[in-house]
Amino acid sequence: MEGLEAKGIVGPYALLGVGLAVRPGEWVALLGPNGSGKSTLLRVMAGLLRPRAGGVFLEGKPLRAYGSYARGRLLAYLPQGGPYPEGLLVEEVVRLGRLPHLGLWGREGREDVEAVEWALEVTGASRFRGRYLGSLSGGERQRVLLARALAARPRYLLLDEPTTFLDLEYQGGLLALFQNLVAKGMGILSVLHDPNQAALAGRVAVLKGGRLLAEGRPEAVLTEALLQNLYGPGVRVAHLMGRPHVYLDG
């Protein structure tokens, strides 16, 4: 079975038995209130946390059966916030994304250079490739870190709140980029806190209190009843051009 699939994940932290799958060519948005276990589930599926029960499967094989470099070539993970190397050049940061292909001492070949160029290009980060990461704004930095994740040319991309720090223009650009990557066969799982961004995904999974509350196409899942359950009674949903739009009733 193709895809990255978590089955019956219990623990660590809040997760109380969650199953979730991402298929190639599909963008899944993971939605839920703070503390619902979204980031934890993402880290479990990236192979960074070991669940107490349940397992993660990549293309039908247990994730743990993959070597760490092989896993790194197939899955790229971008955490939310976290440390970043202020004193590295943007280009060097993105080149670190090739480590799963190079190992510790491999020399960069043509393929590596091309992947880095591509990642810089699609994220719009090539303009500041020669600058230190620490000299960029939060939004520019976020695009560089995304380019780092893309540089591995992974089959699956796991992103934790990738739109944080981005202004509206680049949020739009990023979401368009996701749709583009998905069209080329990449599988994307992104934790998002904004239901309106999640509405752009192919599928939405909603987590609350460590359990999967709902899953399916955005227009089916993002109902007023569900969102009020998640975020309180002030949430309203309108439909524009066939898509749900979420707003707060002031």
Partner: protein
């Protein structure tokens, strides 16, 4: 690409400048001292054209040994800072230098009494290898205790505090061992304060050996140190076998600290200041920062020793006093600047 060339040029110039500084420190270090030698004589003796026992038997081992100690401390400092992702991590501040000093003193105390060993520096002359290996375990243990007390390396305040506590306790224990023979306290004290006066050719050879063992792996792991700056989760997700690599980095850096301490006692702040100064010019690419810290640490300590030997001529200061007097205020400046940014 238009920006890449000037940057590469700028970086090459930094390395050229470091090499120049190192050669300058070598010539001046050999020429100046209780008796000054003319530069021409120094250069011809260094090139082997003319024999000069003051140069070859006394000053050269001290200058070269001092450079190796400085290089070891500079590289260890840069490695600790990269490994713990903390710009204030340093062999001196993290207690690992004090751990090495305690272990070396313990070894000296057990080997047929403390005082004769220190009086003639016999331990360091005849057993430099075992002294370093013993110091290695001391450095490692002290670093681990510091990390446990600080609950990891993420919080600078806790790390520095834990390092100071571990360092103080170990320094107290070292002093206690040394005070067992009060007559020799002066000589012993000069060692703990950080002193290059004990260096002879055997010490230089030991330093060179350990440097050649520990430096290449660190240099080869420069890319890993770079990746670690993205956080451990990301470094792991890139496929790096992080647990083993971190241990290797810690072992290699501790070996450098131990080699330096076994030969020269505790010399503070070289490991902190050297990478800091170089970051301003080279950024934080550890593939550049590590070799630059080796050159820079070597030059810095050789120049500091020059001050130590000439400031109170014909008497000498322990070089550790000079580095601490200059490094302490610099450290405060760094803390102050970080607070300003936070």
């Amino acid at each position: 690409m238009t920006q890449a060339l000037p940057l590469a040029l700028k970086r090459s110039l930094v390395f050229l400048w470091l090499v120049f500084l190192l050669l300058l420190a070598l010539v001046l270090g050999v020429a100046l001292g209780a008796v000054s030698l003319p530069v021409g004589e120094v250069v011809s003796a260094l090139l082997g054209l003319k024999e000069n026992p003051i140069v070859t038997e006394m000053r050269l081992p001290r200058v070269l040994g001092g450079m190796l100690v400085g290089a070891a401390l500079g590289v260890a400092g840069a490695s600790f800072q990269g490994l713990f992702r903390n710009p204030l991590a340093d062999p001196y501040l993290m207690g690992s230098a004090a751990g090495a000093a305690f272990a070396v003193t313990l070894l000296a105390a057990f080997l047929g009494g403390l005082s004769p060993a220190f009086a003639q520096h016999a331990v360091f002359q005849s057993l430099p290898l075992s002294a370093t290996l013993f110091g290695f375990f001391g450095a490692l243990l002290a670093t681990l205790v510091t990390l446990v007390l600080a609950g990891g390396a993420a919080r600078t305040g806790e790390l520095v505090l834990a390092g100071v506590v571990v360092g103080s306790v170990l320094t107290g224990a070292t002093t206690y061992l040394m005070l067992q023979d009060a007559d020799r306290v002066r000589a012993v004290f000069a060692y703990t304060l950080g002193n290059l006066a004990f260096l002879g050719w055997p010490g230089v050879k030991a330093l060179l050996l350990f440097f050649l063992v520990a430096f290449p792996p660190l240099l080869l792991l420069g890319r890993v140190l770079n990746a670690l700056q993205l956080g451990e989760d990301v470094a792991k997700s890139l496929g790096l076998p992080l647990e083993g690599l971190k241990l290797l980095l810690l072992l290699a850096a501790s070996l450098l600290v131990a080699a330096a301490v076994a030969q020269a006692g505790i010399i503070g702040f070289v490991g902190l200041i050297t990478p800091h100064l170089l970051r301003r010019f080279l950024g934080e690419d550890y593939r550049l920062l590590l070799p630059a810290s080796a050159l820079g640490g070597a030059a810095l300590l050789a120049l500091a020793d020059l001050l130590a030997r000439t400031l109170t001529r014909p008497a000498e200061l322990p070089v550790g006093v000079v580095t601490t007097l200059l490094g302490g205020p610099f450290f405060l400046y760094l803390m102050w600047r970080r607070r300003g940014r936070a």
